[in-house]
Amino acid sequence: MMTSNNSLNATDLRDRLQTLASREGIRLWDLGAACSDDCSVQVDRGEAKQLKASQRSSITVRVWNNDGLVGITSTTDLSDNGLEQALVGAHAASRFGNPEEIPQFSPLATAPLPELDRPLQPRQGILPLLDTLRAAEADLLGRHPAIQTVPYNGLAESLSQSLYLNSEGALRQMERTQASLYLYARAEETGRKPRSGGAVRLGLGSSELDVQGCISEAIDRTVSHLNYRPIETGSYRVCFTPEAFLSLLGAFSSMFNARSVLDGVSLSQRDSIGSDVAVPFFNLHDDGLHPGHISAAAFDGEGTPTRRLSLIEDGTLRNFLHSEATARAFGVQPTGHAGLGAKVSVGPDWFVVGSNPQVSSGNTLDHSTESGPFVLIEDLSALHAGVKATQGSFSLPFDGWLVNNGERLSVEAATVAGDIRSVLNGIVHLEADAEVTHRGVSPHVWVDGLSITGEA
């Protein structure tokens, strides 16, 4: 039995809010709530460094006033006083609601939810976590003499609960457990610059985390970069690892976001559905229910059920991600990608990149056997700074290798630059094997003609 100190009681919350709303003369309201009970550990060369735990709760209340305008307020205070303050605050804020775009309840807020096979896992508690992480760090440090520290590391587990209620009877709630492990090592050899690399693992519970896999990957990613060289500035054939490609795609997700389209800040327009945006063998889905998605939720912030959605099929843009309001504006159903707000945000869940087996790329490239020359990009960084999502352009530092004549040399301090539209249309091959990463699912993706800047 897993319980948290501040767990939510959905029916009690609904009754309390309904009483308060009646008193304030509020007929329409909805509420999103979340609470969690987390703990995590960090270690430093065998010693516990920081041990953390938290019990968090928050609610967001949305109300419609007599003019039909919407106001919202959030609070961490679940007491009667806090709930009242939130409701009254939301009512006051509703005076500033946007009459041009009034959100409504999702028409799917009471529709059946998909089955999610995410059994709650028992939590181990902080001291066993500490033992596991300490052993993992020792193992990692012992594997290579150049690795002297693992400056970024952490092992965490959590139990969280979320719910959605509205005044028309919707009542959604879910509980989930989740655990995460990250190990980022730093290696340095005499007379050479330090290098770093790391790995992440997620699981439903801490006891099922692939600790050994995480250690091995962190070592491989760190040690493989010790022999580095500068790369000459120029145009290169590039192969993105699944993780790197998914992070690039995620940075440009406004292309698929109906909210961004309506706001005029997307590369797509209202009439872009049906247009060709990628090579014909490229498929992209958003699949929040994918078995590999540890954080999967059965409903979004508006109570809409989560579902698999085709975004790009055979290179053609098929759908946008929607909230209730954007779906209404486009004349379609909400897709289960909304937050909760006065102006509802929309976001992707879990990208799945694949290829159409009926349409060949005409290439048979394989990153593990190709002799080059090409640049294998393992990890992109500083996406918050180097991506211009509204313009399509990016210029990003990366970790990776220059592969030439079968030899792999780590690239020192370089950036890759381009335009996401050119990337999607310049894909020369998607390898056959897709990998499940903590960002989504993708194969290795080959793109021609990307600009690389190095120090050589």
């Binding site: 804020a93 775009e101 960084s381 500083a382 313009q391 210029s395 800047t453």
Partner: protein
């Protein structure tokens, strides 16, 4: 217990601190917080989002033999706080009921109340009506001054925070903080040409700040930049000298060096400067300072999140490393004296050594002299964000750039990212101009996102890698 923090909380705080000390903790610290936040968004000529939020919570930290256990909770009841403390003690193998002979807690000192003169600040802030009007004035100015504008946005955030810090070394201090930030941004589009430009203006401790905001001047700055960059070519990549403008140009020092002078980085073994106090680590032209005192600046503090009044910390003097930025844990684990730099986003984070108002000090040259000294290079007028990795590799993006050819600014260029290594780039900052200015920003790191100021005069970097196409 009142919602507001005052001497009324002394008894409960002392009870918790005594409980933790008696269990054998070296130090116990309680951080209480209440916040009142408003966020406003104007798009085109309409307010499209108003987001009020309230929060309250506590962060309790226990130190024992150099380790610390930290627990955060939203439950400020006596039972809730006691439960959180017991959990923190248990993490370190301590039991609340067990009395040790080494308990040293002698009670809290007199309350140091930095919030006394700030009691009316929340009421003095602009109302929602006033804030909305200001933002809509801003987007109207954008409409009048800009061309090819597809999107016009104005945003305003007001963050009010009351904190109370009590620790078993007797620390008992309260403060009220007020931060306001206002931003304008546009997306200009003409055929295939696009530019997106944003500017943020921020202050601390100035309830009237939004009323004093010159929205027309801000709109003109954004529109000029967007117009210039709309048809700019992509920069040619390579190694070149660069002149970085003042104000937000200071992000280069923040990323390239400032983070590496936090004791957190010594603890992790991720700074190349750990044993180099007293040594030349930068060009002699560089003097760099981190302080919490600059009146009204975004990173200013009356006290840090550990109850200490902030110092003016000279980090680098004429190129020589002087000090590290340190917090309580940093002092304990590295021996560097605290500088009033223990900061956290909220009660949900343990404090860590973090920058406040960080800037390279003014030099003796004019900005024109710096530009004239470059034959072929890049002038970075406005910077975007940046980051630094565990090996000291930093990067940041250039939002508005120009080529320098034969000592003169020529055509605008876009798409540039500057990357480098802290140890290598600091000696290459060879000239500093006489026009020091500061800019507001946010810094995300181990203890969350905090308000900071970056700053510098115009500076010249002799050679840096410019990523582009």
């Amino acid at each position: 217990m009142t919602n507001a923090f005052s001497n009324q909380w002394r008894g409960l705080m002392e009870s918790l601190l005594h409980r933790g000390s008696a269990a054998g903790a070296d130090l116990v610290e309680v951080f209480l917080e209440r916040t009142d936040h408003i966020g406003l968004l104007a798009e085109q000529d309409r307010i499209t989002s108003v987001n009020p939020s309230f929060a309250r919570g506590a962060g309790l930290r226990v130190f024992r033999d150099g380790r610390d256990g930290f627990v955060s909770t939203n439950d400020l009841s006596e039972v809730g706080l006691q439960r959180a403390l017991d959990q923190a003690l248990a993490m370190l193998g301590l039991e609340a009921q067990q009395l040790t002979s080494s308990a040293t807690f002698e009670g809290l000192k007199q309350l140091t109340d930095h919030g006394l003169t700030k009691a009316d600040w929340l009421e003095r802030c602009p109302s929602l009506d006033q804030a909305s009007e200001c933002l809509l004035q801003g987007t109207t100015h954008l409409d009048r001054l800009g061309q090819h504008l597809q999107v016009r946005r104005g945003s305003y955030a007001r963050d009010w925070q009351e904190v109370l810090v009590a620790a078993s070394d007797g620390t008992f201090a309260r403060d009220i903080r007020l931060h306001q930030s206002t931003g304008l941004s546009v997306l200009a589009a003409d055929g295939d040409h696009r530019s997106s430009i944003g500017r943020r203006y921020g202050s601390s401790d100035r309830p009237d700040d939004l009323r004093d905001w010159d929205s027309e001047a801000s709109a003109a700055e954004v529109c000029n930049s967007a117009g210039t960059m709309l048809r700019a070519d992509y920069v040619d990549a390579g190694q070149m000298p660069a002149v970085l403008a003042n104000r937000f140009g200071g992000v280069i020092f923040h990323e390239a060096c400032g983070h590496l002078l936090e004791t957190t980085q010594i603890e992790r073994g991720t700074t190349p400067f750990a044993d180099r106090v007293g040594e030349l680590i930068a060009h002699p032209a560089v003097t760099a300072i981190d302080e919490g005192l600059s009146g009204g600046s975004f990173g200013s503090l009356s006290m840090d999140d550990e109850g200490m009044e902030p110092e003016r910390t000279v980090l680098i003097k004429d190129g020589v490393l002087q000090r590290f930025i340190s917090d309580r844990a940093g002092e304990l684990r590295t021996g560097h004296k605290r500088t009033g730099s223990g900061r956290r986003q909220s009660h949900a984070f343990a404090a860590a050594s973090r920058m406040r108002n960080t800037f390279i000090d003014a030099g003796s040259h004019t900005p024109e002299q710096l530009i004239e000294s470059v034959d072929q290079g890049l002038y970075c007028k406005a910077m975007g964000g940046g980051s630094v990795g565990p090996t000291g590799q930093f990067n940041f993006s250039v939002e508005e750039g120009y080529l320098i050819e034969n000592g003169k600014l020529t055509k605008p260029v876009k798409g540039a990212t500057l990357i480098g290594d802290a140890k290598e780039v600091m000696p290459r900052i060879s000239m500093c101009a006489n026009d020091l200015d500061l800019a507001a920003g946010f810094c995300g790191s181990v203890s969350g996102s905090v308000f900071v100021t970056v700053g510098q005069p115009h500076i010249k970097v002799d050679s840096i890698t410019v990523g582009g196409r």
